[in-house]
């Protein structure tokens, strides 16, 4: 009789652990040299403490009661616990504050390859450094970490969480319809976006623009070709691009359709792609409003790499480089 483990979790044996450890050690080295001190927070937090930050897909999946009947939740990411930590423990510290972490988060995802319910994240939070400087620093550290991990062909999608909602609001789309359109866009349902626009009564040039924007993605040249309201909306992305070293800048894909499902993002959002893996291996963005909910209003930016997916992409790239390898 063999005992099972919960769906979406798994054991890690020495061969794999050895590779994971080597990878995270190299990444930690990058984070620490860039001035990011490693922190660890409890895996369990009070639901009431953290509920304010949680929205959408990051609703906690695991809840337990403690001996006094309080509801505790397993954290779904490290960004919100670190926002809490900053207001608790760094009330008077001068910003900017730099933290990194290597910690598990817990989500009620559908288990499959690279999609664990207990996922190890390697990430940083840069608190008190507004855009564009803070955003450019986060992107630079992220690329250095990916380079150190050994990944060669990765690209970083950069969008702006406020761009599409801003366009919808400017065109007078009501809040409810805006939510439905954004939901279709987050899912990548372009047919659904078109239907929703029709139902909402957006037509002509406005509809054409709203359908075209999510397909605009590519190098810095896409930012140069914009006009009108769109040109203005891309100002932030251009400012970030101007601050980056070439080795970081050349990794970027500017993506006007990049909308993240995490509710707390306010400005630039990123996503890491690698041709060796069919799903993003990391993500991040600006969350300038979140810290304020915990009592220390500071602009902030961060990212998290999914260590398991990074490992899958690395082995995929290695296989691709092997002689006679397929894809």
């Amino acid at each position: 009789m063999l005992d099972r483990i919960p769906s979406g979790t798994r054991d890690v044996l020495p061969d794999e652990m050895h590779e994971l450890r080597a990878m995270t050690d190299r990444i930690r080295d990058v984070f620490e040299r860039a001035g990011y001190g490693e922190v660890y927070t409890p895996a369990l937090e009070y639901e009431s403490t953290l509920a304010s930050g949680w929205t959408g897909l990051t609703t906690p999946a695991y809840r337990v009661f403690d001996e006094q009947g309080n509801v505790l939740v397993l954290r779904t990411d490290m960004t919100i616990p670190i926002a809490r930590l900053v207001s608790n423990r760094y009330q008077h510290a001068d910003p900017p504050l730099r933290f990194c972490y290597f910690a598990h988060a817990y989500r009620g995802v559908r288990p499959q390859r690279g999609q664990s319910r207990e996922l190890l994240q390697a990430g940083v939070e840069l608190i008190g450094s507004p855009t564009p400087d803070g955003t450019a620093e986060a992107l630079t550290v992220m690329c250095a970490a990916l380079d150190a991990a050994g990944l060669e062909n990765y690209r970083v999608g950069v969008g702006d969480a406020s761009l599409y909602p801003g366009l919808l609001a400017m065109m007078g789309v009501g809040e409810e319809a805006r939510e439905r359109i954004l939901q279709a866009l987050v899912k990548g349902d372009f047919v659904g976006v078109e239907r929703e626009l029709e139902t909402t009564g957006v037509s002509g040039d406005d509809a054409e623009l709203l359908l075209r924007v999510p397909t605009i993605r590519g190098g810095p040249e896409v930012l140069a070709e914009l006009s009108g309201a769109l040109d203005e909306a891309a100002t932030g992305m251009r400012a970030i691009h101007a601050l980056l070293e070439p080795r970081v800048a050349e990794r970027l894909i500017f993506d006007l359709g990049l909308v993240r499902s995490l509710g707390y993002y306010t400005g630039a959002v990123f996503q890491v792609y690698d041709p060796a893996h069919g799903v993003p291996i990391g993500s991040g963005g600006r969350y300038d409003e979140l810290l304020g909910q915990f009592g220390r209003p500071l602009p902030a930016v961060g990212f998290a790499l999914n260590v398991e997916r990074l490992h899958i992409a690395l082995t995929g790239e290695e296989r691709g480089r092997a002689p006679r390898g397929r894809r």
Binding site: R155, G188, F190, V191, Y273, G278, V279, P280
Partner: protein, 208 residues
Amino acid sequence: MNDLHIAVPRGALLADTLDLLDRLGIETREVRENDRKLLFEGAGIITMRPSDVPTYVEAGAADRGITGKDVLLEHSEREVYELVDLGFGECTMVLATVAGEDRAAEALRRLGVMRIATKYPRIAARHFLQTGRQAEIVEVKGSVELAPLTGLVEGIVDLTATGTTLRENGLVVREEIVRCTARLIANPVAHKLKAEAIDRLLERLGAV
């Protein structure tokens, strides 16, 4: 070898899909001549059951694919981009029961729940939830039309194009749930990393 891999559904959508690929300049002769082979490296075509298309595309084993909206609705948890409504393969998801008095409605009224056979348990369950009725969903793999004729269930939820099969089995459509057509889907990462190739395809489709 072709840079992009497309997942192509075998079955009812195959003929229209291959015609479309021909118009897009993708070589389909080998696929037409060979209905046992599955992988056509030269043309970049992978053939499979329609319901497997989102699985391959989500994982990135195919960059893009063509499948019915019915499949996408049933597997709505698959993270794929739905790029274009291709318009062909039109059919309707319906609730059908044996002709004459509506036995499903009677069961619901007198027994509080109706038993419904389907190959689309999630679409069916969602439909009855949204319309405020209790239904026991019985998942079957083969001919759904058989289920109400034998008394296994009172009604079925199934896809119909012309309604011929339903009529031949003495069933009538009671409700239309959703109209479905073929869709072009893409892997989200491929949509970013192979943007040019995918946009070129969309342009040729006249959809951009």
